[in-house]
Symmetry: C2
Subunit: 326 residues, 2 copies
């Protein structure tokens, strides 16, 4: 036993949703915290072998072995060692997770960290845990897990962090930012992280459903018709207008820059398969509400015209329900 450690114990971290993004951050945190992962489909493999991470940034063949449990019940703190952070990295499907993490959330103590896409995802946590810090994070970390336990991670890793709501104390958000940085990650804490959510949504709420519906990479959609570029731009401008109605400014130049990234990849034939397309191809449920439904409802609430986004919502919602019947 290390007296230093026991007198100044490591923060205790639980990961809920041990997909590729969660595994990478748990790896970084495992260097400096006491980490446990709730694993579901990949439990047996990770319990036996831990994770292998092949990352352009953090190294190839990196092996790490967190404590693994099957559920939050199994992870519930039996001693006085309360969880300091619950990191939710599962897909943002509304309605279930706040209840699932209840056994590991200590009121007034545990910070709930949401590393998820979409907008409007925090409220159900705030309502369930009004006395806990909610930390909202926008993540840029292209990665996949295939087979179970083996993570492939590309050349970007960035976490944008803020308290939710932005008027709440940012003490825990700042502490979590420092923790990620201590682990070797790239994190920045913002007074209000919501504009960052909307900036990422520009890509997610447009390309994700469009590629999922057409079963196509982004560049293939652009190349398919002469009308596609204009339509994609129009969808992104609708998202920008909704963001603006909530006080989050995205410039037209930022919109055109984001669209231009896909356009620039056409000649290189370097199309991207957004996560929603990967989900459809694997017959997995898709994050319809967080990524498309919530912005549409927020837009309509403020009377912002968003008929293209609404069309995408109606389509991808029907597709998701169809997938759920498979």
């Amino acid at each position: 036993m290390n007296f230093e450690m026991s007198s100044n114990p490591q923060p205790k971290v639980l990961l809920f949703g041990a997909g590729s993004v969660g595994a990478v951050y748990l790896y970084l945190l495992s260097k400096i915290t006491d980490t446990t992962a709730v694993c579901r489909s990949n439990y047996d493999t990770v319990k036996e072998n831990g994770f292998i991470i092949n990352s352009s940034i953090f190294g190839q063949g990196v092996h790490f072995k967190p404590n693994v449990v099957r559920s939050c019940e199994e992870a519930a703190p039996k001693t006085s060692e309360l969880y300091d952070y619950i990191i939710v990295c599962s897909k943002a499907i509304p309605g279930g997770v706040p209840k699932l993490i209840a056994p590991v959330v200590t009121p007034g103590h545990t910070a709930i960290v949401l590393i998820q896409n979409g907008v409007g995802i925090e409220d159900e946590y705030l309502q369930a845990y009004p006395n806990n810090s909610i930390i909202s994070c926008v993540v840029y970390l292209p990665a996949s897990q295939r087979p179970a336990g083996v993570i492939t991670h590309g050349e970007v890793e960035k976490l944008q962090i803020g308290a939710y709501p932005s008027s709440a104390s940012s003490v825990r958000a700042q502490a979590f930012t420092e923790l990620i940085k201590s682990g070797g990650g790239t994190a920045e804490c913002f007074d209000d992280v919501q504009p960052k959510r909307w900036l990422k949504l520009l890509i997610n709420a447009s390309w994700n459903p469009i590629c999922a519906l057409t079963l196509s990479k982004d560049t293939d959609v652009l190349a398919a018709s002469s009308e596609a570029t204009e339509v994609l731009l129009a969808v992104m401008l609708e998202i920008r207008d909704i963001a603006a109605s909530y006080g989050h400014t995205i410039t037209r130049e930022e919109v055109e820059f984001q669209l231009g990234r896909a356009q620039a990849r056409i000649p290189k034939n370097a199309g991207i398969e957004p996560s929603m397309l990967q989900d459809v191809q694997a017959s997995r449920r898709i994050e319809v509400e967080a990524i498309v439904g919530n912005p549409v409802r927020m837009g309509k609430e403020k009377n912002v015209p968003c008929v293209r986004l609404e069309m995408l919502y109606v389509l991808v919602k029907a597709l998701d329900i169809q997938i759920s019947k498979r």
Copy 2:
């Protein structure tokens, strides 16, 4: 030999596109005309066994055996017996069929009958055959062919017929109408059949791409989100507005009636799989341009707002190209 017949020979009819709709009309015409079918994927079966038609209207287990050829070259008239009618019942995919039927089209003699969905499909025939009658038909005949040579046909059969363009002589269109009626079919000749095309497009340009993109029956789309009904109505109203800009009036009541047909089937769980959905499921190319692309371009030409239809076009066009790569 029947002298009556040889002095007053039967009309000579060639069917191009021996799908379910084509087979039913060829059966009706086979009673009173000399019929030949160009069969492609179903050649061997139809050559050997003919067609079996199971129809709610024309009877179950109806067997008929037309002359069958593999191509128009093979069907080219070797004697003075020119084809009086070429009936094109293939899918309306632009760019190829006018050339394919060239061996059987006699300038100034053969009437070209298009029994196909969509709008703007006639021009390529008119350009290729400026001295032939072009007869444009809107068909209501729910049918499928599975396995090859076996047709299942539901309870509707209706053909709406007109010369193309509507300013052209309608003599041949009227004669074809009488021919169908003589064979036992339901046909009506109109001075201008284009408004009928647009009325059918109300359903085809909306439900077809929406069901194909969502892999869902029409009722499942409506049930998937509270926004769906309003969006479907809006798409149909865009189609109505484009039709109006070309002088074809569809009332709002007609639009609501068409949408209501799907709504009424929700409680009965009697969803319909439009042909485009069936095509996607079978990895077959889809009639994107005739059904969605042409109306969008026609709408934009007249500055009619149709952003929802344009969105559907961009999506279903990308999907079609994706299918072509399978």
